[in-house]
Every structure is written in structure tokens, then in C-alpha cells.
Symmetry: C2
Subunit: 365 residues, 2 copies
């Protein structure tokens, strides 16, 4: 049995609380002999800043590089509001994404039938919803240079961020989107603003070309990002896979996640390119939700998104498909039994806390 190197970065806020439940599940899989894990733990975000003045240390970066998969909790909170820009909690996550080359961010937005009632949308609009946002994660305005604030002669300040995309960056994320759509409903919607942005013009051109050359039998649709946001609210089921740049993906995936009423349930995977020698990809798994400072420490956080992120790790990084199926089934069964954390409660359900939810899932395994 191969040993999988797992690097765990709980982060800030509810991150350590939800990651604690994941650790128990990882331990259980290890003990059962389903898979064998070699675990390292590190600090990221505000926790890392408090410990050594950086959002992630070089030694933790080295451990992330060496790992088969990184499990990431969440970062940030009001405590670090005045930390210098380059040391802010988010810098740790952005450094990981960039250094590990995690260009493909997969964000499924699925409406769990048992949770449809928690959505602000009407049941017919979201019941059965299953879309996947494929967000480019290492380019665009997040990383382009110049990125600076300069003081002008008249004392004014001028802030600049730069959105940059090259042909090859767009090509590889497009391929990921189509390959994933192949395993789903064969439709890709590409969202950009080619009517305003040159990066949108290039994006649309490259997606169109890759589609024609490599995936012509599949459906491709182009949609303006603002219209896509609208359409997600109006009738999200029109989508299968949505592919978009880093910034649009940030917003569209949050909208899509919130539609489902299942925000505390949604995992994500950030994947690098396949190493031609080993066939392996670098990967980081994290919940779609953030560090939720308002409920941190209350024991109320929903651990399911992070547990499901580990299930994605089992599936995509460790090829432990059976274990992943088992874990997903345990989550489904617990929900079916009526147990809920506060964020997803509805009539006739029983509200429990983080550790009780983790324990219930473990018991189902």
C-alpha cells in the first residue's frame, strides 16, 4: 500500500476546528488500512504570522511542495486587519497557489436535496442543481505586475493592479474544463468581458480555438461575466461547467455556492499540471467557505465542506475512489438522519455542533 504524504494547514478562525474533524477521519482510514498517510502539519495565515511574522514560512512551503496533497482550512480575520499587505493572512494561500502551480480551481456547486430548504432561492430553481466552476487560479489580476500604490506629485495616491493572461494559461484551463465536462453533461460556458477587456478578447479567442480543435463534439457557449452572474441567479440549471478567469471565478463561484443553500457543505480542489514523469499533480483541497470569525470558537462550524474536501483528495490525489465513495456516503447518511449544523438547519432537523457532526460521520463509516 502506497503511503500518501498529506500536509495539513488548518489556518485561522474555524479552520482548526473543522480540520480537527478531518484529522479524526484521516486517522480512521489509516487505522483501517484503507490507505496509509504520512502526515505533516503547518501554520498558515494569521496563525503563521503570529508565530513567525509571515503568512507562511519557507519550511512550511517546502513541506507543501513535498506533499502529495495539502489540506487547507481557512485564513484571515479582524485580528490581522492591520498587518502589512505582504504579510496578510491571504498572502499565505496566494503563495501556495502560485508556488505549487495550482492553476485549476474546481468548485462544484451542488444542491443537496436535504438542504434545498436552506437556500434563499425557490425550490424549483435549485433542486437538483449540479454545476462546476472551473476557475483559473494562478494568473489574472491576482498576480499581474505592476501591483502597487504610488504617491503622485500632488500628494494623491494611485493604485494599480494588472490583469494579465497568456495564450498557454488560457489553453490549459480550457482543457481542464472540457475534460471535466466530458464526465458530466458535455457543456462548457466560458465567462469573460470581451466587450470591455482585452484579456476577455484573448480568452474568448483561445477557448473558441481549443474547442474547435480538440472538443468540437461538445457544446461551448460564451457568456459575458456580468450576464453569467445574472443567469446564475435566474436559472442556474442552464449551466454544466463554467470556465473563467481568477477574479470572475472568485465572484461567480461564491454566487453559485450561495445559491445551493449548502455553502458549509461545498469542497474545492486546486490542481497543478500533471508531472509527465510521475503522472502526479500537486493539489490543495479547501472548503469554499472562509474563516467565519463570527462563529470561530463557538463550536458551531460545519465541518462537512472540509471533510468533503478530504474526500476530493482521496479521489483526485490518492486514487482511493472506494474510500472517497464511503466518506461521501457517510455524509449523505448523516444528513438523511436529520442531523444538521446550525448553518443548514431547517424544520424537523436536529442541530448539533462541529465535533458531534464529525463524530456522527465517523460513526457512519
Amino acid at each position: 500500500m502506497a503511503t500518501h504524504k498529506l500536509f495539513i494547514l488548518p489556518g485561522d478562525g474555524i479552520g482548526p476546528e473543522v480540520m480537527g474533524e478531518v484529522e479524526k477521519i484521516v486517522g480512521w482510514f489509516g487505522k483501517q488500512g484503507v490507505a496509509s498517510f504520512e502526515i505533516e502539519r503547518g501554520l498558515v495565515g494569521g496563525a503563521a504570522y503570529d508565530a513567525h511574522g509571515e503568512a507562511i514560512s519557507n519550511s512550511d512551503m517546502a513541506l507543501a511542495q513535498a506533499a502529495d496533497a495539502v489540506m487547507f482550512g481557512s485564513v484571515g480575520g479582524p485580528k490581522w486587519a492591520d498587518v502589512p499587505y505582504s504579510k496578510r493572512p491571504e498572502a499565505g494561500l496566494l503563495r501556495l497557489r502560485k508556488a505549487l502551480g495550482l492553476f485549476a480551481n474546481l468548485r462544484p456547486a451542488i444542491c443537496f436535496p436535504a438542504l434545498a430548504a436552506a437556500s434563499s432561492l425557490k425550490p424549483d430553481v435549485i433542486e437538483g442543481l449540479d454545476i462546476l466552476i472551473v476557475r483559473e487560479l494562478t494568473g489574472g489580476v491576482y498576480f499581474g505586475e505592476p501591483k502597487e500604490i504610488v504617491t503622485l506629485e500632488d500628494g494623491q495616491q494611485r493604485a494599480v493592479d494588472t490583469q494579465v493572461y497568456t495564450t498557454s494559461e488560457i489553453e490549459r484551463i480550457t482543457r481542464v474544463a472540457f475534460e471535466l465536462a466530458k464526465t458530466r453533461r458535455n457543456k462548457v460556458s466560458s465567462a469573460e468581458k470581451h466587450n470591455v477587456m482585452k484579456s476577455g478578447v484573448l480568452w474568448k479567442q483561445v477557448v473558441t480555438r481549443i474547442h474547435k480543435a480538440e472538443f468540437a463534439s461538445m457544446e461551448l457557449e460564451h457568456v459575458l461575466a456580468d450576464n453569467c452572474a445574472m443567469q446564475l441567479v435566474r436559472w442556474p440549471k442552464q449551466y454544466d461547467v463554467i470556465v473563467c478567469d481568477n477574479l470572475f471565478g472568485d465572484i461567480l463561484s461564491d454566487v453559485a455556492a450561495m445559491l445551493t443553500g449548502s455553502l458549509g457543505m461545498l469542497p474545492s480542489a486546486s490542481l497543478g499540471a500533471e508531472d509527465p514523469a510521475t503522472g502526479k499533480r500537486k493539489a490543495l483541497y479547501e472548503p469554499v467557505h472562509g474563516s467565519a470569525p463570527d462563529i470561530a470558537g463557538t463550536g458551531a462550524a460545519n465541518p462537512i465542506a472540509t471533510i468533503s474536501s478530504f474526500s476530493m483528495a482521496l479521489r483526485y490525489s490518492f486514487q482511493a475512489i472506494e474510500a472517497a465513495d464511503m466518506l461521501d456516503k457517510a455524509v449523505t447518511n448523516v444528513l438523511a438522519s436529520g442531523l444538521r449544523t446550525a448553518d443548514i438547519k431547517s424544520d424537523n432537523t436536529h442541530v448539533i455542533g462541529t465535533t458531534a457532526m464529525g463524530a456522527a460521520i465517523l460513526k457512519e463509516l
Copy 2:
């Protein structure tokens, strides 16, 4: 009675159809002696390109500059998909915004009680919704330089867009937001991505400073743009005025508009700075919806957003408050009578077309 110079640019798609109904109403107000209008008409978008190869001609730009208000329909459509970038339909609108200095884009998102049923959201989430997005409209990634696609040595292409904001640009839009919040519920939410963008860092600093110095008694909240999009879907009534940059405003205002179920109803105003000499502002009024090529020519378009945009013109540019109230009331009465265009139909309503809706509103006046 002062004569108001009105410049009408119907544009493309359903633009000319809905503007036709506005013209009838303008004519009626003129005949009644409620206000006196001097009307010029021009071409913009694809219509202008077809006529003279540019998205707007210099002579029409001069008429826009000379007008007290511009009434704008909508631009764009598949017919012009392959027009060169600088001549694409949207370029006409962007040139107008920039040349007239229309930095403040006001986009109310109101849920008309009679239309709540048309929303994809649950009634309790949107009933009574009344928020206002104040979008910066002449800066940011829409206009920053460089904005280009270059071919690299290896044959790849590299596209660049530049997000730029200066202190004074942020100051003036912040003031507009707070002044408007004063007439509403005294709360401003400022949306940016200071965790990723330097323009977000500056945005947050400047908004905080202006609030403290000039509007300290009012409520200010900072929200990350991705979270704001989520919160709009979850519980939009938490907001009063949302102030944000050009690109975030594009997306957030579309989300907010779609929530209401009243997209075909929503007007917008784009205002310039007050001229200290005359006390006047340049202004352009347009519906939030686009050119809807799919229904153009079918006579089904909803003219209300454009008619209400004219009502905003009466209010903000012509100080004809009574006339604006009269027009708003006529719209409300027509809706109350059960008449609907197809986009806002629901049970027990009667569906009519563009001209019948225009006529019904005129009859109510």
C-alpha cells in the same frame, strides 16, 4: 419655462423599440406644458457602426456634450460580433461615459411588490427590497492603460488590462454614495478586494477617511466583493447603498437587479460632477437591461426600465419632480391593473407587448 435639451440615442436591439415609447411620453409632457424639451436624436452602437463605421460619430458626441441629458437605449448584438475592438457597439457607450465624465452610476434594485412572484428568490427574501448600487463608472479596469494584446517572441499572445484608481476618483464616488444614503437608510457598504488588489487597499483607506471626516454619523461597512455577491443572494435586505468600483459594480448591480424579479423595470442614471458655474451635471439615463437580441423585433420588450430612466432624468436633470412622480405613479397603476409584458408575467396577469404597455402608461398620465 426652461427648455431642456434632450439627446436620444436608441441604439440596437430592443433599444429603438423601448425608446419609441419614451418618445411618446416625452411628447405628451411637452404638449401638456409640464416641461419643454428640445430633442435631438443620434446613433450609437451597431446602428452607428452600420451608418458610418464608428460606434458613435463625433457629431453625435458633440450633441451629447451639449445636451442637458442623454437618453440611452441599449447597444450590441451578434450582428457585430466580428467588428474590430475599437469599433464594437459597447465602445460608443464607454466613450460617452468617459467623455462626459459620468463617474457616478446609480443603479437602484427595487422589488416591485406586484412583481415579486417573478423572482427566482423566495418572497420573504426580496419583498420590500430597495437597495442602491453606486458604481464608479469612468475608472478602473475599463479605462486603465496599458490595455492591449501583444504577440510574444514564442508566438504566444499576452493580453493586459490595467485597473487604476486614484485618491480623488475614490473620494468623489464615496461622497455620492454617502449623500444618497442620507436620503435613504444612512448606511453605506463599500465592496472591494483589499485582500488581493492594491486598488482595493486604496479604496478601503479612502472610503474610511471620507466617512470619518465628512459622514461620521452614518454607518459604513466594508465587505469583500465576493462576499458581497454571496450576501446579495443570501439576504439582500441587509444593504442600503453599496459603493464599488467599475468592474465589481458591473457584476454586483446585475446580481442585485436579477434578484428583484424586475430586471425589465430597472432604470439607471450616470452622472457627472456638478459644474460650479451652472450647478448642472452631465447625465445619461439608461435601462439596466441590455439590447436583448433574442426578442428584438418581436414587439415583446418591456419599455418600463427605459420609461423609468426618463423619470430619473425628469428628477435629476430637469428638476421636474412632479412630472417624475406622475410618471412613476402611472407605471405603478398600470402594473396594479394586472398588465404585464412577457418578462414579468405571473398568474392572473394579462400579457401585452411593448407599444400596448407604452400606451397604457400614457393613458394613465
